[in-house]
């Protein structure tokens, strides 16, 4: 068994927390797991990616074309993640567009990005995680909405139980626990309705 989850987004969106929760939950489920992240310039609004591999994997990095799941926290970064997909990849993207600062060209339209992604993979889901997080009181919960969607839409939930992942949220985040759990459950129920 092996599950490759490729995460992409922008520094500050909570990707490393997201990956740490999956990692902790995998350990608590008795699974092998490795998480590789690129730090460095991520605080400065640059693109960030994180590789999560559960099960029989040795390499810390997912090869291009071999992500089983992509979770994109931003729609332009979703486009940049496409080389990691193959037709069987489950693709989950946040509908949010964050314009790259100081970019003077023409930005792709989110609708066109969705069409492009759908043309590459059989299963693509687009979630309004940002708006849901704002409704819950703070955009910071965006990552928990996406985590809920991941559990609703992929076989992660066959490997890690809901109780275990909720326990990992409590362990890893440790503050505003009820709000984070609420965001996770909201993401789960919204995405479950999409299946």
């Amino acid at each position: 068994m092996r599950l490759n989850i490729y995460l992409t987004g922008i520094g500050g969106q909570g990707l490393i927390t997201f990956a740490s929760i999956i990692g902790q939950a995998a350990v608590d489920s008795g699974l092998r797991v490795t998480v590789a992240e690129t730090h460095g310039l991520s605080q400065r609004g640059g693109a960030v990616d994180v590789h999560v591999r559960i099960g029989e994997a040795h390499s810390p990095l997912i090869p291009r074309g071999e992500a089983d799941v992509v979770v994109a926290f931003e729609i332009i970064e979703a486009l940049r993640a496409l080389p990691y997909t193959n037709p069987a990849t489950v693709f989950i993207a946040n509908r949010r567009l964050i314009p790259p600062p100081a970019f003077r060209g023409k930005l792709p339209k989110p609708e066109d990005v969705e069409v492009e992604i759908k043309s590459r993979v059989a299963s693509a889901y687009f979630i309004d995680a940002y708006n849901h997080a704002v409704k819950l009181g703070n955009p910071i919960f965006e990552n928990m909405v996406m985590l809920g969607a991941l559990f609703a839409l992929t076989r992660v939930k066959e490997l890690i139980s809901m109780d275990t992942v909720e326990g990992a949220i409590v362990k890893v985040i440790g503050k505003a626990v009820q709000e984070n759990l609420r965001a996770f459950r909201l993401g789960y129920s919204i995405a479950s309705a999409r299946r």
């Binding site: 902790q24 590789a36 690129t38 730090h39 460095g40 609004g45 693109a47 074309g65 080389p83 492009e116």
Partner: protein, 614 residues
């Protein structure tokens, strides 16, 4: 061992935890990606154990602090990024001659792929160069194990050891077995022994002989390290470090049989073990992250032992010499060496026209204001400077609209290279050196002394944001030592300390300083204002934000074109708008707006003076 548990943790934290278990007494370092979390973790726990830990002013000093502690007989470690070891090379070379009284662990975190560095040098060469063994872990658990083992190795031989980490060990999170911290091992006192610790030539000659003998002991003991050998057929793949992980997966993917030998130490390699394994093989493949350091030693060993079988590696072009290894690269290299089919075709084409998203100055970054003011002041003074840049967040001043980092090579290079361009152009070129506060104390100080001593007429701008910001906001000596006072004490006659958030005042100071430089003397302008990320941390409720009055805005574009603040966006009608979630209330855009169209939402002076206290 008692009280052990499995924790999901970062590789660097696993290294630091293991060092605390092993009784580290003194730890020193200088921040640098991907190494910084090691010293940070020790800081978090030093109080529990009684370990002494410091952020040093540079890697050489950090090395000396740890080395001196180990010369006294304490257990010590020093941690830095790969290029930091260049700065520490002088004491490092000596440490092999003198040896140490307990253990000295030198940690270098290399950055293959140059995710946040100016080069991807492979510091395993330093081991061969200096006669210091190099341990090379492949994952966080292995790193924790090798930290303990290498410190014992060091104290057994009274010789320093190097641990070479890479990004994909330092910044990988995995389960690691962690145990109770040990009692730090300090020296009970310093016993004088100048014959072994004072390297005057007469002593050094004798010690070189001892070093050569000790290196033979190192070679013998390296044979007994926990190298991982799996005997499975006539192809032998020799690996070290993170390459081991790619090889294991590539062999599974390709469904081929091969013997594997992973080396716990890549310098010096265990020659007997390699010769034994190779004598059973008809072909050897060497896979490693970085330069062909193991490969050359393997080829040397097989030649010396008279084993005539082909060896494939980087020299044969099978594995990349530029950037990080990837699973795809390792699969392809092994498949080629074995003459087997790769078995799958991977579509990894990039989608065309994805807008780039480079790192930028944060909203409210004082550096953006400083670069804006410097550009305006230079234009008004009618000088066309060469901007000699340096390493830090302000390296991002290389990007438009600023374009104010023309040369940028190494820590502290701004002042030295600037003087070189000045001398090389016969004094014709106007030079502005731009350097940060932590970098100023790191390697800028001796260069400033040189500028005064050799009378170099140039403008030195110190961007003092009160922190070592690029690596995550570590403290900086500027928090206790005033840079303006240092410059005056060195003998700079024209020293200005200004707040970049006072746009007019900063421009005037820069103008004045430029005139002094034209007059033939060096001038220093310290632009002092704390990092916006640090200012807002824990103080978000105090921020007074700014907004654009759409009726007053004339769509001139000065704010979004010249300041390039990520919080300011251009609307379709050309007018500006400020993202309230991103604005941190620095006030600079309001000061440069010619129409007074940008205004605070509330009284801004309280927030700005609170920020100014940092």
């Amino acid at each position: 061992m008692a009280n052990c548990t499995v924790r999901f943790m970062l590789g660097n934290h696993a290294v630091a935890h293991a060092a605390l278990e092993a009784g580290i007494a003194v730890a020193a370092g200088y921040p640098g990606t991907p190494s910084s979390e090691i010293i940070e973790y020790i800081f978090e726990h030093a109080g529990e154990t009684g370990t002494y830990v410091e952020w040093s002013s540079n890697e050489k000093v950090a090395f000396e602090v740890a080395y001196g502690a180990a010369l006294a007989g304490a257990r010590a470690l020093v941690s830095m990024k790969h290029v930091g070891l260049n700065v520490a090379m002088d004491p490092l070379m000596s440490s092999a001659y003198t040896g140490v009284r307990n253990s000295l662990l030198v940690i270098t975190a290399d950055d293959p792929g140059m995710w946040s560095s100016q080069n991807e040098q492979d510091n395993r060469w330093v081991g061969l160069h200096s006669h210091i063994p190099v341990f090379e872990p492949y994952n966080p658990q292995n790193a924790a194990d090798l930290v303990k083992l290498s410190m014992d190795f060091s104290s057994r031989l009274n010789h320093p050891v190097i641990m070479r980490l890479v990004t994909r060990v330092s910044h990988v999170r995995e389960p690691v077995k962690v145990c109770e911290f040990g009692k730090p091992i300090y020296a009970s006192g310093y016993v004088k022994d100048p014959a072994h610790q004072a390297l005057v030539p007469a002593n050094a000659r004798l010690l070189k002989g001892e070093l050569v003998k000790r290196w033979e002991e190192v070679k013998a003991l390296v044979e007994d390290l926990p190298h991982e050998y799996v005997d499975d057929g006539k192809v032998l793949i020799i690996t070290s470090g993170v390459a081991y992980r790619y090889v294991k997966e590539a062999l599974e993917d390709l469904e081929v049989k091969a013997s594997t030998l992973n080396l716990a130490a890549s310098v010096p390699v265990p020659r007997k073990l390699i010769a034994n394994a190779a004598s059973k093989a008809d072909k050897v493949i060497v896979v490693e992250e970085g330069d062909p350091v193991v490969e050359l030693q393997v080829k040397e060993t097989l030649f010396d032992e008279g084993i005539r079988i082909p060896v494939y590696g980087k020299a044969e072009g099978l594995f990349t010499m530029v950037g990080e290894l990837t699973l795809i690269n390792v699969r392809e290299g092994i498949a080629k060496a074995l003459g087997v089919d790769i078995g799958r075709v991977v579509n990894h084409q990039y989608v065309a026209n994805v807008p780039p998203r480079p790192p930028v100055f944060c909203p409210g970054c004082p550096h953006a204001a400083s670069f804006y003011e410097l550009k305006i002041a230079a234009a008004r003074a009618r000088v066309k400077p060469v901007f000699s840049g340096d390493i830090g967040c302000y390296s991002l001043g290389i990007n438009p609209p600023f374009n104010e980092q023309d040369l940028l090579t190494n820590m502290g290079s701004s002042i030295g290279l600037g003087m070189g361009v000045l001398r090389g152009t016969g004094g014709r070129q106007f030079i502005v050196a731009v350097i940060g506060d932590s970098t100023f104390f790191h390697a800028g100080l001796p260069a400033l002394v040189d500028a005064v001593y050799n009378k170099a007429p140039m403008l030195i701008v110190v961007l003092d944001n009160r922190y070592t910001a690029m690596t995550g906001g570590q403290p900086s000596p500027t928090q206790v030592i005033d840079i303006g006072a240092v410059a005056r004490a060195i003998g700079v006659k024209h020293v200005y300390t200004v707040d970049p958030f006072n746009v007019k005042g900063a421009e005037e100071a820069l103008r004045d300083a430029i005139e002094k430089v034209k007059g033939g003397e060096p001038a220093v302008v310290v632009m002092r204002r704390a990092c916006a990320l640090e200012a807002v941390r824990g103080r978000g409720a105090l921020v007074v934000r700014y907004t654009v009055d759409a009726d007053a805005c004339r769509a001139c574009g000065i704010c979004y074109n010249l300041l390039a603040c990520p919080a300011i966006n251009k609307l379709d009608n050309g007018k500006a708008t400020i993202d309230q979630a991103a604005c941190v209330g620095c006030s600079v855009c309001a000061q440069i707006c010619p129409y007074g169209a940008i205004r605070p939402i509330g009284e801004p002076s309280g927030w700005l003076s609170k920020w100014g206290e940092l």
